[in-house]
C-alpha cells in the first residue's frame, strides 16, 4: 500500500500535530515528485507557503504522500510510485487525486494531510475513506510552491478527522502572500458550532437529476431527515446553467494543464531523456518518458482546445459560461446559509470497474465548488457496510468560517459515541 512516496521519521513531541503533504506541495530539501517520473528526483530549493506556515507553527511533517500524478485522476492509480490502496477495502478505489492523503489520515499515520483540490480531489477520496475533506475558497491558501495543474481552480485542500482540526489548520494557513497574485486576505475563523435551528439549507434543483447509488440516496434522505429534526429550513435553489459545467470544467482544466506543464522539458530540472541528440529529441523523449498516460491525454486535449481554431468557442466561451454559473451560484447562496449534497453519487467503486464502467459521474457534486471558487467541506455520515456516506456542505466564497461552524454542528449529529 504505497501511501507515502517519501516517509519521514521525525521526532514527534508530545501533543504535536502531525501532517503529511501531497507530493504536489514543494518542501525545501525534501523530494517533491508530483507522483511522476518527470520529477522523481526533484528536490525543491524552496517550500510552498502553506508548508512554511505550518512548519513555523510547529506542525510536524511525517512525509510526502502518494497521489495521481500532477493531480489528474479519480483513483490514485496514475502514479509512478505504485497505486494507493483503499485502507478500508483494497478491492475498491481510495479515490483521487489526493488518495494518499485520505489513506494516511484514515490509517492514522498523521492527524491531517494537505492535498490539492482542483475538481474534487480532496473531497472524493475523503468520502471514500470516511474522513473529513475540505476545499477552501479559491485564493484563501496561497498557491506559491504548489505544483500547478489548472491555475484558475487549483486549491490546497485539507483532509482531517474532524471539522475542528480543519478550522485550526485554516487559521494557520490563511493570509495573502505577495508571491501568489491570486491569493487574498480571508477572515479568521472562530470555531463555534452553531445551533442548527433556523439555519437555511439550500437544496440545489440541478442535483436532483444526478443518478445516485441507492445506498447513497438512502443515506442522503436520512441526513435530510436528521437536519429537519434539528430545526433547519430547506430552501430550493437553482443554478440554471450548471449543466454546462460538465463541458466547461474539463475544457478549462485541460487547457490550463497543457500550459502549466510545458515547463517540464528536461532542460533545467526533472527527467531528461538520454535518447536522442537534438533539442526536439530531448523535449519529445523526456516528456514521453516522464509523463503518465492520463497526463499525456490531458495535455493533448488541452493543446487542441487552445488551438487558434478552437480557442474562442472552447476556452474563451468556457470562461464566459463559468462566469454565468458563478453569478447564478452566488445568487443561490444568497438565499440560504449553506448548500448541501452527497459528496459522491456512489460508494467507492470497484477497481475492476475502471476502464469498464462509466465513472464520469464521480464529480457530479464536487465540481460546482471548483467552478465558482466557493468553499466545500464534506463529513462522514452513516455507516454503509464497511464505508460511510458523506455529506458535502458549501457556502458562498470567503464564508469559510461560517461553513466550519455549520459543518461542526452537523458533524455532531454523526459523532460515534466512544
Amino acid at each position: 500500500m504505497t501511501v507515502y512516496i517519501t516517509k519521514l521519521e521525525p521526532k514527534i513531541p508530545a501533543g504535536a500535530f502531525t501532517v503529511s503533504y501531497k507530493d504536489l506541495i514543494c518542501t525545501k530539501g525534501i523530494r517533491t515528485t508530483a507522483a511522476s517520473k518527470m520529477l522523481e528526483n526533484f528536490i525543491p530549493p524552496y517550500s510552498a507557503t502553506v508548508y512554511e506556515r505550518l512548519e513555523a507553527k510547529g506542525y510536524i511533517n511525517v512525509g510526502k504522500v502518494n497521489h495521481d500524478q500532477f493531480g489528474m485522476g479519480i483513483a490514485s492509480t496514475n502514479t509512478h510510485f505504485g497505486a494507493v490502496k483503499n485502507p478500508i477495502d483494497p478491492t475498491v478505489s481510495v479515490g483521487g487525486s489526493s488518495g494518499g492523503s485520505a489513506a494516511a489520515v484514515y490509517e492514522g499515520s498523521c492527524r491531517a494531510s494537505l492535498g490539492t483540490d482542483t475538481g474534487g480531489s480532496c473531497r472524493q477520496p475523503a468520502a471514500f475513506c470516511s474522513v473529513v475533506g475540505y476545499r477552501p475558497s479559491y485564493g484563501a491558501f496561497p498557491r506559491y510552491g504548489v505544483i500547478g495543474a489548472a491555475s484558475s481552480m487549483d486549491t490546497v485542500g485539507i483532509i482531517a478527522n474532524n471539522v475542528s482540526d480543519v478550522c485550526r489548520l485554516y487559521n494557520d494557513m490563511i493570509g495573502k502572500d505577495v508571491r501568489d497574485p491570486t491569493s487574498v486576505e480571508t477572515p479568521k475563523a472562530i470555531f463555534k458550532p452553531v445551533s442548527l435551528k433556523g439555519v437555511k439549507v439550500g437544496l440545489l434543483k440541478e442535483f436532483e437529476s444526478v443518478d445516485m447509488a441507492p445506498e447513497i440516496a438512502a443515506d442522503y434522505k436520512q441526513v435530510k431527515e436528521k437536519l429537519k429534526a434539528a430545526g433547519v429550513t430547506f430552501v430550493d435553489v437553482s443554478i440554471p446553467h450548471m449543466k454546462y459545467g460538465e463541458i466547461v470544467y474539463p475544457v478549462i482544466f485541460a487547457s490550463e494543464v497543457f500550459s502549466n506543464l510545458t515547463r517540464y522539458d528536461g532542460l533545467r530540472f526533472g527527467h531528461r531523456s538520454t535518447e536522442g541528440k537534438t533539442i526536439e529529441d530531448i523535449y519529445f523523449n523526456s516528456r514521453a518518458e516522464g509523463f503518465g498516460q492520463e497526463v499525456k491525454h490531458r495535455i493533448l486535449l488541452g493543446a487542441s482546445l487552445l488551438s487558434q481554431k478552437h480557442y474562442k468557442i472552447c476556452y474563451e466561451q468556457g470562461l464566459k459560461v463559468r462566469r454565468i454559473i458563478r453569478d447564478e451560484a452566488n445568487a443561490a447562496f444568497d438565499q440560504c446559509d449553506v448548500m448541501i449534497s452527497p459528496t459522491v453519487p456512489t460508494l467507492p467503486f470497484k477497481l475492476s470497474d475502471m476502464g469498464k464502467k462509466d465513472l464520469s459521474s464521480q464529480d457530479a457534486f464536487v465540481m460546482i465548488a471548483a467552478m465558482v471558487g466557493c468553499p466545500a467541506l464534506c463529513i462522514p455520515t452513516h455507516p454503509i457496510g464497511k464505508f460511510k456516506g458523506s455529506l458535502q456542505m458549501m457556502t458562498k466564497a470567503f464564508k469559510d468560517p461560517e461553513l466550519f461552524n455549520i459543518a461542526a454542528a452537523v458533524e455532531e449529529m454523526f459523532k460515534v459515541k466512544k
Partner: protein
C-alpha cells in the same frame, strides 16, 4: 502628397514597424531578479526560480515596468487602457523556460497614439501607433561555446519589453530611419529604455509590402533581427526591389519572415507564414487583470519632461533653423547642453557651434556630450565673445581647440586675455597694417586694380598674417578695399 515622392520604380512602399524596447528597471517585469546589464553580466547570474519556470513558481507583475510603459505611451500621445490583461503565448524553444511568454495580445496596456517624424525637407509626418504592450523577453542562446551544443543564458529571460506596433504609415527607408530615431529619442528622454540597438536593448521587426498607386496593399513580408538603423534601411532597399522584381516578372510570393545578411546586404527566407506556429494564446489565469487608475496615469503625465517635439517647436520659435532644431533635440543630453550654452546668448549661433564644432569634435573622438571637455556655459561664453566682437570667428575656432587641449578647463575669456587674442578693431591700427602690406606688395596691388580681383583674398590673408590674425576681418576688408580704391 508625400507618398508620391517615395515611389520606387512606380510602386508605393508600405512599411509597418514592431519595436521591442527593453524597459529600464531594477527588476524584471515578472520576477525580482536583476534587470541590470543583462547583455553583459556573467551568464545565468541574474535568474530567479520564476525566470527558470521551476515547479510551483508564479510570475509577479513589477509595477515599475507598468509605470515605464504608461510613461512611454503618454510620451507618444497614446491612450492608456485602464484595464488590460496578460496572455500566454506558447511554443517550445530553449530560450523560453516556461514554454510560454507572458504578453498582451488581446488587451494591450497602451492603445493608439501618434509619433511625429522629422523629414529631411523640414516637414513633419505623423506616424500612427497601433499599440504598446508589455511582455517578457526570451533568454539568450549561445551557439559557439562548445561544438555540437547550444548554451542557454537565462539572464535575459523575463526582462521587461515594451512592444511598440506602428500602423503601416511609413513609406520609405528614410522615414523608417527617422521613426526609429524619434522613438529612440522619446524613450531616452523619458528614461524608460536606453535604446542601444547594438546591445539589443531595442530591436526592430520591419514589415514591408509594395503596390501600384491606387491598388490594394501587396503581400506583406516581415524582416526580423535587423539590428541597426543603417541595416534597416539597407534591408528595406533590398527587399523592396526584390519584391518589385518578382511582381514585374508576374510572380507572386507568400507571406513570409526573412532575415537580413549584413555582409551581402540581402534578405533571406526564414520561414513561410503558413508554416508559422499556432501560439495558443489564452489569458494567463495566474495573473489578475491589470487595473490602473486615472490618478495614477495623471501623476505620470504630470511628471513627463519636455519631449523632443515640444522642445523642437520651442527652438524653431526662437529662430533656430528647422534642421538644426531637429539635430539638437534628438538626444536629451545635447538639448540640455544647448539650453545651458544658449542661455542669454545668440541661440542660432550657439546652435551652429554645438552642432558643427562641438559635435564634430566629440564624434571624431568618440566622446559623448556628457563627457565634453568643454562645459556648456564655456561654449556659450565663447559664442558671446564672437558676438560682442571681442574675437573673430576664426580666432574663436582656435580658442575652441585650446579649450579641448592645452587650456582645458579655462574659460574662453581667460584664454583670450592670457594669450592676447583680442580682436583689433582700432581703425588706426588696421590702417597701419594695411599700409605696410600694400607698400610691400605694390605689384599685386596693381594687378588687383587692373582687374585681377581674385588676388584680393590673398592680400587680405597677408594683412591678417601681419596683424597676427587679430584684425577684425570685416573692418580689414573695408579698409583694404578703400585703400586700394576698389
Amino acid at each position: 502628397m508625400s507618398e508620391n515622392k517615395n515611389l520606387v520604380r512606380g510602386y508605393e512602399v508600405v512599411i509597418g514597424l514592431e519595436i521591442h524596447a527593453q524597459i529600464l528597471s531594477v527588476s524584471k517585469v515578472f520576477s525580482p531578479s536583476s534587470a541590470a546589464y543583462v547583455s553583459t553580466a556573467k551568464p545565468n547570474s541574474q535568474v530567479s526560480y520564476i525566470d527558470a519556470a521551476y515547479p510551483g513558481m508564479l510570475p509577479l507583475i513589477n509595477e515599475h515596468c507598468v509605470y515605464q510603459t504608461i510613461k512611454t505611451g503618454l510620451g507618444m500621445n497614446a491612450k492608456i487602457n485602464r484595464i488590460s490583461r496578460f496572455d500566454r503565448k506558447s511554443y517550445f524553444y530553449p530560450d523560453l523556460p516556461s514554454g510560454y511568454q507572458l504578453t498582451q495580445l488581446f488587451t494591450p496596456l497602451v492603445g493608439e497614439g501618434v509619433v511625429e517624424i522629422d523629414l529631411k525637407d523640414g516637414s513633419t509626418k505623423k506616424i500612427r501607433l497601433e499599440r504598446i504592450h508589455l511582455e517578457q523577453d526570451a533568454a539568450k542562446l549561445v551557439h559557439d561555446l562548445e561544438p555540437g551544443y547550444s548554451a542557454v543564458d537565462l539572464n535575459r529571460a523575463g526582462m521587461g519589453l515594451m512592444e511598440m506596433v506602428s500602423k503601416p504609415d511609413l513609406s520609405s527607408a528614410e522615414e523608417v530611419a527617422e521613426y526609429v530615431q524619434k522613438i529612440r529619442s522619446i524613450v531616452r528622454y523619458l528614461g524608460t529604455c536606453d535604446a542601444d540597438m547594438s546591445q539589443g536593448s531595442m530591436r526592430c521587426d520591419v514589415n514591408v509590402s509594395v503596390n501600384k498607386p491606387g491598388r490594394p496593399f501587396g503581400t506583406r513580408v516581415e524582416m526580423k533581427n535587423v539590428n541597426s538603423i543603417r541595416f534597416i534601411q539597407q534591408a528595406i532597399h533590398y527587399e523592396v526591389n526584390r519584391q518589385i522584381d518578382l511582381i514585374e516578372k508576374g510572380e507572386t510570393f507568400p507571406q513570409q519572415t526573412r532575415g537580413f545578411n549584413s555582409d551581402t546586404g540581402e534578405t533571406y527566407l526564414m520561414r513561410l507564414k503558413e508554416n508559422a506556429e499556432d501560439y495558443r494564446y489564452f489569458p494567463d489565469p495566474d495573473q489578475l487583470p491589470l487595473e490602473v487608475t486615472e490618478d495614477y496615469i495623471a501623476a505620470i503625465k504630470k511628471s513627463l519632461p519636455e519631449l523632443p517635439d515640444a522642445k523642437k517647436k520651442r527652438y524653431i520659435a526662437a529662430g533656430i533653423p528647422v534642421g538644426d532644431a531637429v539635430r539638437l533635440v534628438r538626444d536629451k543630453e545635447v538639448a540640455d547642453y544647448f539650453d545651458i550654452a544658449a542661455k542669454g546668448r545668440d541661440v542660432k549661433k550657439v546652435a551652429n557651434w554645438v552642432i558643427v564644432e562641438l559635435m564634430g569634435y566629440l564624434n571624431e573622438k568618440g566622446v559623448t556630450i556628457t563627457d565634453s571637455p568643454i562645459p556648456a556655459d564655456n561654449l556659450g561664453a565663447l559664442v558671446g565673445l564672437i558676438n560682442d566682437n571681442t574675437i573673430s570667428g576664426k580666432i574663436a575656432k582656435d580658442v575652441f581647440v585650446l579649450m579641448t587641449g592645452e587650456d582645458l578647463g579655462k574659460t574662453p575669456h581667460e584664454i583670450v586675455e592670457k594669450r592676447g587674442l583680442r580682436q583689433v578693431v582700432d581703425t588706426g591700427a588696421i590702417e597701419k597694417v594695411v599700409d605696410k602690406v600694400i607698400s610691400a606688395q605694390k605689384d599685386k596691388v596693381d594687378e588687383i586694380r587692373q582687374g585681377k580681383v581674385q588676388l584680393l583674398g590673398w592680400l587680405v590673408g597677408q594683412c591678417m598674417k601681419e596683424s597676427q590674425g587679430k584684425a577684425n576681418p570685416a573692418m580689414l576688408n573695408e579698409i583694404l578695399k578703400k585703400k586700394i580704391g576698389i
